[in-house]
Amino acid sequence: MNLEKHLPLTETTYYILLSLLEAGHGYAVMQRAEELSGGRVRIAAGTMYGAIENLLKQKLITSVPSKDPRRKMYRTTEEGAHVLQMEVQRLKHMIEIYHMIQGDE
């Protein structure tokens, strides 16, 4: 499967995939994303729900059994984790090339 097509990730998607390496429900993801980004990325409820729906469709996350009957739990799939890795490689390269040209490293 061609995972390249998912790149580059939006900041929202990046933090969702990262947060869901450990299973969690929608609101937990909103909290983790805010925490991980140092309070910078605040995903609102409607945006969060739409993003979950998309990622489920793209099979980058999957629904896992939940103890709470009202709240579904999700987890990043293997494909999702792979896309995340590819994105990190891409970002790493962008940063390295910056430092090379600026010559400050």
């Binding site: 929202t12 609101y27 609102a44 409607g46 945006t47 729900y49 993003a51 009957p69």
Partner: protein, 205 residues
């Protein structure tokens, strides 16, 4: 109080509800086809937010509402199949909006457009089926009493009024399907235009 109003622009609808609340009319319920039920209360400043989603199962609908509640938004009106979902902030966790980027706010218009087009196709299909049953002869839908138009006086009127309800029953669905089809197509085009507009705003930013 009940008000009839049709919206295809969610931003305009939010503004309408906020304006009504500032006059003391609080949305109690939105029922299908543009009927808003308001309750008279204190004039207040409210911040209605509207999402557009249709759910296939109850469980998913509950999960959706739970996510909004967790994030500080109270679901005030909307059903599993209603599409429009109305929210009000219930604490400071909610912030000012249910969308944190323009693209996801614009997606509402895309979803609405898709649903309008599905409905449009359904109604056109129904219309076609009805028309096909007439074997291409539209007069099969009107009066069928043999020799009706040659009758005169009392005979004519009794035959006419006897068949009239059947004619109405045959023609009415046709008109209703055609009207619904046209309406959904019109709404769909409006929603699509707004979607394109919002997306182009997003790109120029």
């Amino acid at each position: 109080m009940r008000k009839f109003k049709l919206f295809w622009d969610f931003d305009a609808e939010e503004k309408y509800l906020n304006d009504m609340a500032s006059k003391g009319y609080i949305l109690k319920k939105y029922s299908m086809f543009g009927f808003y039920h308001f309750e008279l209360s204190q004039p207040q400043k409210l911040n209605y937010k509207i999402d557009y989603r249709v759910f296939n199962d109850r469980e998913e609908f509950e999960n959706y509402i739970a996510l909004f509640e967790d994030a500080g938004w109270k679901h005030v009106s909307g059903t599993k199949r209603s599409g429009v979902q109305y929210f009000l902030p219930m604490n400071e966790k909610a912030g000012t909006d249910i969308f944190s980027n323009r693209a996801s706010a614009a997606m509402r218009y895309k979803t609405f457009y898709d649903i309008c087009m599905v409905n449009f196709i359904c109604f056109v299909f129904n219309l076609t089926v009805i028309l096909l049953t007439t074997n291409g002869n539209l007069s099969n839908l009107t009066f069928l009493t043999p020799g009706l138009w040659e009758m005169t006086g009392k005979d004519f009127w009794s035959a006419f009024f006897f068949e009239l309800p059947f004619v109405i029953l045959r023609v009415l669905p046709l008109i209703a399907f055609a009207a619904a089809g046209v309406l959904y197509f019109y709404w769909g085009t409006k929603a699509k235009k707004l979607y394109n507009l919002r997306i182009s705003e997003e790109k120029s930013n």
